[in-house]
């Protein structure tokens, strides 16, 4: 079984604070981490490797420093790592990201499964996984909460959806996106840490993947961010008195000021 896990380096958004005066994001001192959702994808991949044999390869597309998350994945038990890095990859949206990642999977050859996290905590789109499946023209199972069976031909997985769970069988090769429910990720081991310090990580660029400029990075991205703002912050410690009707209406207003409406 050859499994590829796509992992992303992200700012720890739990540590991101908002400068209330300027209404901007304070990123100073915010550490870059392995996208927490990706740990579950990695664990799932390693569990099946441990059971069925084979290899787990982690890949990430990002700047040179994104190598750190690959080393972390190796310290947890991944066998190989590949860094997709090139100035030309910068500015990629999910179309260009998945396009590049899919090309790398093709380049590796003979891959049975690609696993991704449910979503990245910065971009938050959850689009990369299914888009990789589209690029490869493989079937996909998204929002997988449990993998019931896996063998050389097929996979049976539980897909957690609104109000229930679908049990889906898909033929291999396949792309799955993994939820936190699937497992408990293992911790790194010292053996893994030692390996991760030594392992050579190949860097694949645009030319190596034979991708034209207009299919990668910003040039290959149909979407563009044109503006970033911070959500309105409700001022601290407003205390309202008055008729219950008025208070209820104000309470609902303050719910609407947030993104959970």
């Amino acid at each position: 079984m050859r499994i590829v896990v796509a992992v992303k380096q992200v700012p720890d958004t739990a540590e991101v604070r908002i400068d209330e005066e300027r209404g901007t994001l304070v990123r100073e001192g915010v550490p870059s981490i392995l996208n927490p959702f990706d740990e579950y994808a990695l664990e799932e991949a390693m569990r099946w490797r441990d059971e069925l044999g084979g290899t787990v390869t982690v890949m990430t597309m990002g700047p040179p420093q994104a190598e750190a998350v690959l080393r972390e994945a190796v310290s947890m038990g991944a066998d190989e790592a590949i860094l997709l890095s090139d100035r030309a990859f910068a500015g990629a949206d999910t179309w260009a990201t998945s396009h590049t990642l899919a090309k790398a999977v093709e380049k590796m050859g003979d891959i049975d499964i690609v696993m991704t996290g449910k979503q990245a905590i910065d971009g938050d789109t959850a689009q990369t996984g299914p888009s990789i499946a589209a690029s490869l023209d493989w079937p996909q199972i998204t929002f997988v909460g449990f993998v019931r069976e896996l063998n050389q031909e097929s996979i049976v997985a539980e897909r957690y959806v609104e109000g229930g769970c679908e049990v889906i069988r898909a033929s291999l090769p396949v792309v799955i996106t993994v939820l936190k429910d699937a497992n408990t990720p293992r911790l790194p081991s010292l053996r893994g840490k030692m390996k991760s310090r030594k392992i050579e990580i190949p860097v694949w660029g645009r030319e190596y993947l034979a991708l034209p400029e207009h299919e990668v990075g910003l040039d290959g991205s149909p979407t563009r961010v044109v503006k970033i703002t911070t959500p309105e912050i409700i001022s601290n410690g407003e205390i309202h008195h008055g008729e219950p009707e008025k208070l209820a209406a104000l309470l609902v207003d303050s719910l609407l000021g947030t993104e959970v409406h």
Binding site: R186, L187, P188, S189, L190, R191, K193, M194, R197
Partner: protein, 390 residues
Amino acid sequence: MNYYLSEELIDLKELCAKIAEKYILPVRAELDEENRFPREIIEVMAESDLNSIYIPEEYGGFAEMFGGGSMALTVATEELSKACAGVAVSYAANALGAMPILISGSEEQKKKYLPDLASGKKLAAFALTESEAGSDAGGVKTKAVKDGDTYILNGTKQWITNGGEAQVYTVIAQTDPSRGTRGLSAFIVEEGTPGFSYGKKEDKMGIRASSTMELIFEDCRVPAENLIAREGHGFLVAMKTLNKSRPGVAAQAVGIAQGALDEAAEYASERVQFGQRIDSFQGIQFMLADMATQVEAARALVYSTARMIDAGERKYDKESAMAKVFASDVAMKVTTDAVQILGGYGYMKEYPVEKMMRDAKITQIYEGTNQIQRSVIASALIKETAARGK
């Protein structure tokens, strides 16, 4: 204070902190309450290779990577103890049990036992204490009588950490009662050996997650090849073992103290009385300042001792006694003060500091009481003075 730990030690520390956060903190109160051995956590530690940090590479360990192993064990034990000393001692007792083999075992014994101990497949324990033999190891009554190519063991060991959980026991027994401590010998006894059984599990004041048990030997036949070193060397093996492991107890103490200090400082920054945070009162500030200073001093002494051992120094009984005495006294003082800072809340089981105070106490007692350690220090001092006088 920055101790300029190596990259490897920093990795190790981070790994232990992760284990503590993910696996120990959520259950420590429960383990304490239920007197329950943390088998799952011990497994996680083994999977993370923590049992291999003091074992040389040729036996499946990583000691060389950490420059010897003492410092690694110190750092790991301290970090785990911050969260729960009961779990930490269950981990560290493996090192104590393995130490006689590491220090004095034959090549065959090392090859046979160390790899499984390094991988965590097996756990170890060290058994010296008996009802009549506490501070005075010469009081050991457990007998080992040679019979052909076996020794027959009879007697009862008490208060053995990891008893009932370990698979490999290093046991000190009398082979020649007429010679006192010079008649003691050390043996490796495996779980399941006929005639070897467990007695009662103790109900303790602190470190309740750890298992403390009686070991009972009734005509228990142990192969002669399980004798460590030679007959009559048991006392020496035990003393060397304890000298080397004592910084580990000191590290536990530093960890407990640091954990309590962290709790107290945080609480003091939140608790409001008389309309202000209690950490704005000088009375509290001075207590916190003293606690922090003591913890740092203890840590500095413990690290220096561990580094000295790793550097290859052969004589460190005085330093290792000093580290243990000082750090354990600090732990007792700091945890008591932490309870004081939390006031009535500190006295309640819902907060972790009362447990830390109970846990701290043992560090003054086991692996040689602090009184015994002070005599060790004093006699070393007297010898040094005498030597200077010559």
